[in-house]
Amino acid sequence: MGILEVKDVNKRFGGLKALTDVTLSVAENSVHAIIGPNGAGKSTLLNCLVGKLIPDTGSVMFDGQSVLGRKPYEINQMGISRVFQTPEIFGDLTVMENMMIPLFARRDGVFRLHAIESVESERELRERAEAMLADVNMLEKRNMHSASMSRGDKRRLEMAMCLVQEPRLLLLDEPTAGMARADTNNTIDLLREIKAKRDITMAIIEHDMHVVFSLADRITVLAQGTPLVEDTPENIKGHPKVQEAYLGEHA
């Protein structure tokens, strides 16, 4: 029984069947990669997990509780964080402030009006944010206006914002797309390190096979909205159907 159980999920957009009977189980403390051709429904699946979309049918259980019908912020409070395919950050805020918001969110849970306290007094939170920034090599950029960073940096920031919440399940939608090789490698190391340090489950969507094969414990291949195969990385690499539909000659 995995920490995340997706059962028979279907999702249509008008005439288009984006997801058809998707069933998926992610084991606790594993890294589960979801790969597949463009438009296979990977991001759609993720959207169903975080409450952005509601599946037409099927169930999604996280840690024994259904996430369906919950608001995105409630789902996040259950311990699911998500990194988006195009970076979603607070562009008007500095990097450090970007880091503080997720920490406040964790501390306050529901609404709390701390209008008169000052941010400066939140020493403990600041330290955690700085430690996380150091982990993603962004400490020296902490006072930068986040909108004016290059895209690779935005991605790293977003990842740091998710990680600092210490989620139990981290969903990553192409986390290294557009990242320089060096940073991609750093990211792989970082994710490994985090996994080693604490209990965390990750579901990752990636087109960069280097990342997938370095991280994943299991891989699901999605094609045209249905899981094609699910297996270990080694087996996937050699799988002829995957070769043909997805990896192409460069695998």
């Binding site: 805020l93 503080m100 918001i101 209008a115």
Partner: protein, 405 residues
């Protein structure tokens, strides 16, 4: 100190000093000079400066931080005023209960209007707030006349009950708004040479309340709550996936700023116990928006400057008539004098709107950050010059020093 950072503390101190010495600062011209027309240091206008300052500070908490542009804030101003006047009519002429009631009532209104309007964002939100305010205004002007006294505005009269006070003073007059006996409207005129300065109780009470409001606003801006509000403005989507429901925060900001508006409305009534329906009209809401943008939305001091700017023009420029202009330029030869008066004429007196409109345009074109940006540019220019001087001095000093090696 006071839980403020150094820069904020300086800002606060500057504002406090300005507020304290406003009667001097706003009266720079001797009473009998031609320029005395530009003096703004009389109680009513000074009170307006600080009261509309409060209104704009509050509005900025909503708009400057969350980006939600309410076009119905005047409704809270009006509710505040009506509540305060009713308090004067029913309870007593002491301003404390009046102010409290106006904040509470405005807060309640804000909860209802905010709860409904915040279901939408962007322009849809603006129009919802506008619709609520316009409904309030239209009803206050007509159907609700028993409560609001319609067109004339709610006034205190000799036959109000005033349970804790007197209906009429001993000499048959209407009692005066006061703070435990300190009359709001009483003021002291101090003459110093050709200058005259007026110190009014009402102004100082309003100024102290403004300083408190300003202080609270600084704290809100610098707090986690304020940061959260800025995050809402920046990217609500991200906020949702970060585990925060934006709605309670925006609603809180809306209610806080509504209560600021209620406070301002209440204070207006304390200074001059009349509440007119026009206070709720969309033009009044628009005025708050203009004040805030003009001064610099999202900055701490900007809205106060913007409020002062608009109120100054409304009260000073509208009073400059041809006779006054003639007075200024009477030293010119006759033909020239008429020409100059003719040139100035369209922009003053009944043309004060024209000047205001032109200034709106000029400021927003040349100072995209509002008046605050103007201030910053001046400061930069000054400090650049100073730096340059300092640099020059340093270079000179260095050239006089023989190199060590």
């Amino acid at each position: 100190m006071l839980g403020l950072g150094k820069r904020d503390l300086t800002l606060f101190a500057v504002v406090a000093v300005l507020a304290l010495f406003a009667p001097f600062i706003l009266n720079p011209f001797p009473t009998d000079s031609g320029l005395a027309q530009f003096n703004a240091g009389y109680p009513d206008l000074m009170q307006r400066f600080v009261i509309f300052g409060i209104l704009a500070i509050g509005f900025n908490i909503l708009f400057g931080l969350t980006g939600y542009l309410s076009f119905g804030h005047a409704a809270f101003l009006g509710v505040g005023s009506y509540s305060a006047v009713w308090m004067f009519k029913l309870l007593s002429m002491n301003v404390i209960p009046a102010i409290l009631l106006s904040m509470v009532m405005a807060g309640l209104f804000a909860v209802v209007i905010g709860y409904v309007s915040l279901r939408r964002s962007g322009i849809y939100f603006s129009i919802l707030t506008l619709a609520f305010a316009q409904m309030s205004y239209n009803l206050a002007y007509s159907v609700l006349t028993p409560i609001t006294n319609g067109e004339t505005g709610l006034q205190i009269t000799l036959d109000d009950p005033r349970i804790l006070g007197v209906s009429a003073t001993a000499d048959g007059g209407i009692p005066v708004t006061n703070l435990f006996g300190l009359e709001m409207r009483s003021f002291e005129t101090v003459a110093m040479g050709p200058w005259e300065f007026q110190f009014s109780i009402g102004y100082y009470i309003a100024a102290v309340i403004m300083l408190i409001s300003f202080y609270v606003a600084i704290r809100i801006f610098r707090s986690p709550f304020g940061m959260m509000l800025r995050a809402i403005k920046s990217n609500q989507n991200r906020l949702y996936y970060t585990g925060l429901n934006a709605r309670p925060y925006t609603l809180a900001a809306f209610v806080i700023s509504g209560m600021y508006a209620g406070l301002a409305g209440g204070l207006l009534a304390c200074m001059d116990p009349l509440a007119g329906a026009e206070r709720m009209q969309w033009t009044a809401s628009g005025e708050v928006v203009l004040m805030t943008i003009l001064g610099g939305a999202g900055t701490l001091i900007g809205p106060v400057l913007g409020a002062g700017f608009i109120k100054y023009f409304e009260n000073i420029f509208s009073k400059i008539n041809d006779q006054v202009v003639h007075g200024w330029v009477s030293f010119l030869p006759d033909g020239l004098e008429d020409l100059v008066v003719g040139l100035i004429h369209p922009f003053v007196g009944k043309g004060w709107h024209l000047t205001l409109g032109l200034l709106f345009m000029l400021i927003v074109i040349f100072l995209p950050g509002g008046l605050v940006e103007g201030g910053q540019r001046i400061r930069n220019a000054v400090s650049n010059r100073r730096n340059r001087n300092a640099d020059a001095a340093e270079a000179q000093a260095a050239s006089q020093q023989p190199p060590a090696e």
